[in-house]
Symmetry: C2
Subunit: 313 residues, 2 copies
Amino acid sequence: MRAATISDGVVTVAEHPDPVPGHGEVLVRVRAAGLNGADLLQRKGAYPAPPGSPKDIPGLELAGEVAELGPNAERFAVGDRVMAIVGGGGQAELALVHERQLMPVPTNLDWAQAGGTPEVFTTAYDALFTQCDLSGGERLLVHGGAGGVGTAAVQLGAATGAHVTATVRREEARDAVRELGAHAVIDPEGFVDHGPFDVVLELVGAPNVPDDLKALDTGGRIVVIGVGAGAKAEVNLLALMGKRATLRASTLRARPLEEKALTARAMERHVLPLLERGDLRVPVAQTFPLEAVHDAYEAFAAGGKVGKIVLVM
Amino acid sequence: MRAATISDGVVTVAEHPDPVPGHGEVLVRVRAAGLNGADLLQRKGAYPAPPGSPKDIPGLELAGEVAELGPNAERFAVGDRVMAIVGGGGQAELALVHERQLMPVPTNLDWAQAGGTPEVFTTAYDALFTQCDLSGGERLLVHGGAGGVGTAAVQLGAATGAHVTATVRREEARDAVRELGAHAVIDPEGFVDHGPFDVVLELVGAPNVPDDLKALDTGGRIVVIGVGAGAKAEVNLLALMGKRATLRASTLRARPLEEKALTARAMERHVLPLLERGDLRVPVAQTFPLEAVHDAYEAFAAGGKVGKIVLVM
């Protein structure tokens, strides 16, 4: 099979042996695989794949058809449309996924949309609901509302009855975020004046945290899932006590199979129905064939788009 | 009635009008009232009483007999032995408490023990279980294990199946903390080497937090309920993400009636049965009559004892 392959900080296409599904595993003929921020880190060697994932094939999500079942795999049949987050190796013609990590693809998603769904929606759902218990009527602040996870978080918050405020730096992207359901789209500068919030989704990192805490209401929760702008945060514990607040942080990639499988079950129960009936959308900004993977990475790194960049095989 | 009274940074005894119970309130003839760290802060003007509590009468907990019921108060009868946390005013001959905040006194507690029970056990229970979901088999680190909340936390952790490590600076206090059920009693210096822990009860403050995070296992929780050593903590968000960890903080005093009442119900359900059957003890270091309230505060401020200092009326 051919696969995107990282070599000396460059992503090219190379031949690899076809993977063979083991117990409980499914061989997926990948039809689409989204790009994510972590791919850029991995390209420059800063985010190695976890044990059990291909070391040199990037890709944290994929959608495709079941090509072959390993022994004991029985949740899906050959030909079924499936999608999943994976620890790596998604940007390839074939990929192995444990059947407990796979989800069915909602019927109204095309391949590009499906390939761009698992990572951002699982991340956003896990952060907002599993980690922070966001619920209807609460006030949510999404930092980086125009990014991949941001657009998923804005939609999930709005679709479940939260009041959603999104920070978006680029003025030209704000309308698109409003159309996804954000009730207020603001400049990141001075976001603290738009509070108070019950839940803050922090995708930027340490520099925001002191103001996140200021903008929080009593009982509020901050969840950090990105630290691109810095990791060392100053936290005023007295303010945290006074607000009985929670600061938590999470990543998906490092989790063991059983925990990743739980996120897939949560997606099937809470998110796929909303995708299925069109209450959530998967904005795709641009697609590239596997051969153009280098261009896809460059387009992703350049930024400036609302929606996913997806490789389509 | 007579009551401990703060005036210009000194605690004396003064006459006050007898309080009159309003709707749902109970007038308690106070028999014992424990001292707490917050009393010292309030004595020096740093921790004003919340609205609705006497401004100049300190005391965050009390035990006594029901003296009179206000209109609609029906949970207890005149003469019942009751105890409670209060927003202030506990160190007096009479105190008003909303009936939803009152708990019955376990039959095997004497007045001094009962007067020293509500604040530390409610604080410890709330921090460990309500905030951090501590459960059997988990590894708990209690900072300041010889203090009031520390001794309660050590016992609650051990009684519910956690493995309890307690830091105790004074060597001469370590045996007493071991007798309360701590599985390991260690010097605060180098506590990080005794991890990993699932839950850390942080009573000291900011200087400990970076090492608390280092000592935490995946999925671990830090709960801050004291910041005597400093409030500005540096938090490594990348480490917090990698461990999928939670940093939270809380105080009891600022909570509204309904939330305080919930802590009383949690105490009745989960803690009083353990006190009743002797699985938890209330160590009382020293008692003072109300007249000697100044000496009681001085003894409390001097530290160096394991167990509560309680005013007995």
